[in-house]
Assembly symmetry: C7
Homo-oligomer: 95 residues x 7
């Protein structure tokens, strides 16, 4: 079963801490809002301007990303915990 | 009796939890703002820019969608409980 | 005596609950902000952009509409209680 | 002595309750923000966009209008109490 | 010594109450935010849009104006108390 | 060692009260937000619109300016206390 | 392992106080929001307008910058503490 995020939304799978140590990204405990690592599962068609123009997103399925800990909305799709967030919640692409 | 949402509004029928288990979408209990599954019943003509340009919506009647639990306004039309929300309240399309 | 709403404002006559049962729209008691049914009496020439372009409204006199309970400003014109609201306060058109 | 409102401002003379009964407009006592009837005395050249384009106003001197009770700023010009408000504070034109 | 206001700012000399009685403008004591009369001393080159386009102001040096009592910032230039405000703080031109 | 302010920022050296008496600008003690006199040390390339267009600033190095007391951020460069502010914090140019 | 900031974000390495004394920049203790010195490690492709137009950033990898103390989000990449901030959080370029 699929899920297509709408507009500038992105579906993200959180990457657990165990994997992170391999990738080299470690989030400091003391940070007040800790960014987390994730993998993009699906992206929307793009942000839509007031005039209706669609701007494709800069991230794509498979990208490893950092995002703010409190970004997005948690959902469970086909039994898996995922997060729907806006592309603007993504800090950058890892790798 | 029909109902035509205005502009970028969408009329949505909430899909009950029983159906959701079939579709594979389960919303985690612990989520602070739980998204819910619904079916689009009718859509407005589109968002209207300040200059009057209409941008048709990206969802259509029959789409299965996820939307934030507190989105929209509840109405009863022909005895059925429905929700009127803006397209921007829709997280994505299921299926 | 007439009244012409300015810009994107609309003059609305509230439709009482008795009539609503005939039309089939029943508003749930539990809703925190209950939409109400009304009839458009007069509409403004349209929303005006910052550049001065006028976009005609999508509702017209005679339309049956749903609107949020707390929308608009109450006035009495020729002894009749009416409401002046912005078109954006209208959820959709019934019928 | 004259007064020219600037931009999208309008100079308004409040119409007293005695006159209103003749015109047929009666404002309900229970309304939380009671609109009032007035007469436009003078209007500004028009709203000015960020790019400097001027859009002439839709009301003109002599128009009978309804406006929100708390709109505008009271001034006394040549001994007469008047109100300076923005055109957007005007609900519509009577008559 | 001169002072050139920047952009859409205007340098204003407050006109005292004594002069006002001659001009016919009297500000009511009961008004919650009393407008005051002043004379424009100098004006900026104009408001600058996000795209850098300059729109010349509609007031000029010598204009008698009304402005909100709490508008602007007080300065003393060459020993004289003056006020620097934005043109949008000016209600209109007297005379 | 140099410092180039970014975009619409300006580097300002505060002019002390002693110098001000010569220039003729005296700031009243009673003003709630006292403007201060300063000298522009360096300016950014200009404000950048959402579309990327750069609008050069209207102040230049050497200009004597008035600015709000609480504007900007204090820094020490080469042992000298300076202030980085946005051009919009500058009230006007003296002299 | 690399990290590409998204859009108008910039990856910054904080420059410690010891290095700062050499460069001549000393931040006053008394400042309520102390700017800090840093070195740009990587920059995003640029700010993206609502219409999708990308405006390249004005800072580049290697630039020495001043930024507000509380700007951005702290991350640890390959064991190094870095900060992801928006270009608009950067006050200017040193040197």
């Amino acid at each position: 079963m699929g899920f297509r995020p709408l507009h500038d939304r992105v579906l993200v799978r959180r990457v657990e801490a165990e994997e992170k140590s391999a990738g080299g990204i470690i989030i400091p405990d003391s940070a007040k809002e800790k960014p987390q690592e994730g993998e993009v599962v699906a992206v929307g068609a793009g942000a839509k301007s007031e005039e209706g123009k669609v701007s494709p997103l800069d991230v794509k399925a498979g990208d490893r990303i950092l995002f703010g800990k409190w970004s997005g909305t948690e959902v469970k799709i086909d039994g898996e915990d995922l997060i729907i967030m806006k592309e603007s919640d993504i800090l950058g692409i890892v790798g």
